[in-house]
């Protein structure tokens, strides 16, 4: 009999989290033909001291965490933000009932980082 596995706790570190955006939830289902929604994701998590390599940090963010550790009140931690996004295409009707296909950049969060 194997020992009980420890409970899985979600990582508190900065990383992409799942976010599905449904166009019907925002009331756009009448004019957006496709997709009906898409996995957009978002960034959330801590940027602790010391910043690890996998947190996609900049040199500035490393220094900011150092200063934050010395002066937590005066200097905030770096922010967990998108550092790589990818485009999606949307098919929709415009104001003149024409069908339009448009490529939109920066719509999906692929990677997050401490900046």
């Amino acid at each position: 009999r194997s020992p009980p596995s420890p409970p899985v706790t979600p990582s508190p570190l900065c990383k992409p989290r799942r976010l599905y955006i449904s166009f019907s939830d925002v009331g756009w289902e009448n004019w957006i033909i496709a997709p009906q929604g898409y996995l957009a994701n978002y960034c959330r998590g801590d940027c602790p001291f010391p910043l690890a390599a996998e947190l996609n940090s900049t040199n500035h963010a490393v220094l900011q965490t150092m200063v934050h550790s010395l002066d937590p009140q005066g200097t905030p931690q770096p922010c967990c933000v998108p550092v790589r996004l990818s485009p999606i295409s949307i098919l929709y009707y415009d104001n003149s009932d024409n069908v339009v296909l448009r490529h939109y950049e920066d719509m999906v969060v692929d990677e997050c980082g401490c900046r």
Binding site: W31, R84, S89, L91, N98, V100, L101, R102, Y104, E105
Partner: protein
């Protein structure tokens, strides 16, 4: 609450603006999605993620810069057939209302598609051809005197779908008032003998005309990001 509703409406309009729309569209008579747009949409959707190489400011299917692809339906009428020379099988005004193009959009490709009702029409006699011409026209449909055809082609056989690139013509500024008006003529070669109907051999059975336009929106025209 009213305050919340006002805030949401402001957020929505600013989002729509960032998507290139002045207001939330409410299609009155939705038309079917043109197959070419479905194909491009599906191809991009099926690419594995993440795809860094995917450029949102390029339409790979046509190998041109652009991030917006529109298909406009023809709104022109048939014109009376005159018989100046040969047998004129078809004379039609092609009118495309391009007023939805935003200020600052740059046209990078325009392609006219003519669809006929049957799969193909053979010319009635060996050596005889069908001639197709597209003229720039005034909005009322009058060919402009002295203007040369934008397109002039001869066919032994007309296929169900014919494509014509008009990018160069439109870039030359032949789009007064943000509309495109053309006169389409199809004739049987002059000097042919036989009845007019048999010479035209069904080339007058034009089913539909549409104009596919690729443009580069303002978001793609500034200095490239990252």
């Amino acid at each position: 609450s009213p305050v919340l509703a006002t805030g949401l409406s402001w957020q929505e309009s600013s989002l729509l603006k960032s998507l290139g729309l002045s207001a939330k569209p409410s299609p009155r008579s939705p038309v079917p999605v043109p197959p070419v747009l479905w194909r491009i949409f599906q191809r991009r959707k099926e690419l594995p993620r993440p795809h860094q190489e995917l450029d949102s400011c390029r339409v790979e299917e046509f190998n041109v810069p652009g991030n917006i692809v529109r298909v406009f339906a023809d709104q022109g009428r048939f014109l009376p057939e005159e018989q100046p020379q040969g047998w004129l099988c078809l004379r039609k005004l092609l009118f495309f209302n391009l007023s939805v193009l935003e200020e600052g959009e740059r046209l990078t490709m325009a392609q006219l598609e003519l669809r006929f009702q049957h799969n193909s029409y053979h010319s009635p006699r060996p050596g005889q051809v069908l001639e197709l011409r597209l003229y720039p026209a005034s909005p009322r449909g009058q060919p402009q005197p002295g203007r040369r055809p934008l397109v002039e082609r001869s066919f032994v056989q007309l296929h169900k779908s014919l494509l014509f690139k008009l990018s160069a013509a439109l870039k030359d500024g032949k789009m007064p008032g943000r509309n495109l008006t053309l006169v389409l003529e199809i004739s049987a070669s002059s000097g042919a003998s036989g009845s007019p109907r048999s010479l035209c051999a069904g080339s007058d059975a034009l089913e539909a005309a549409s104009l596919l336009v690729v443009t580069l929106g303002r978001q793609c025209r500034g200095p490239r990001r990252r």
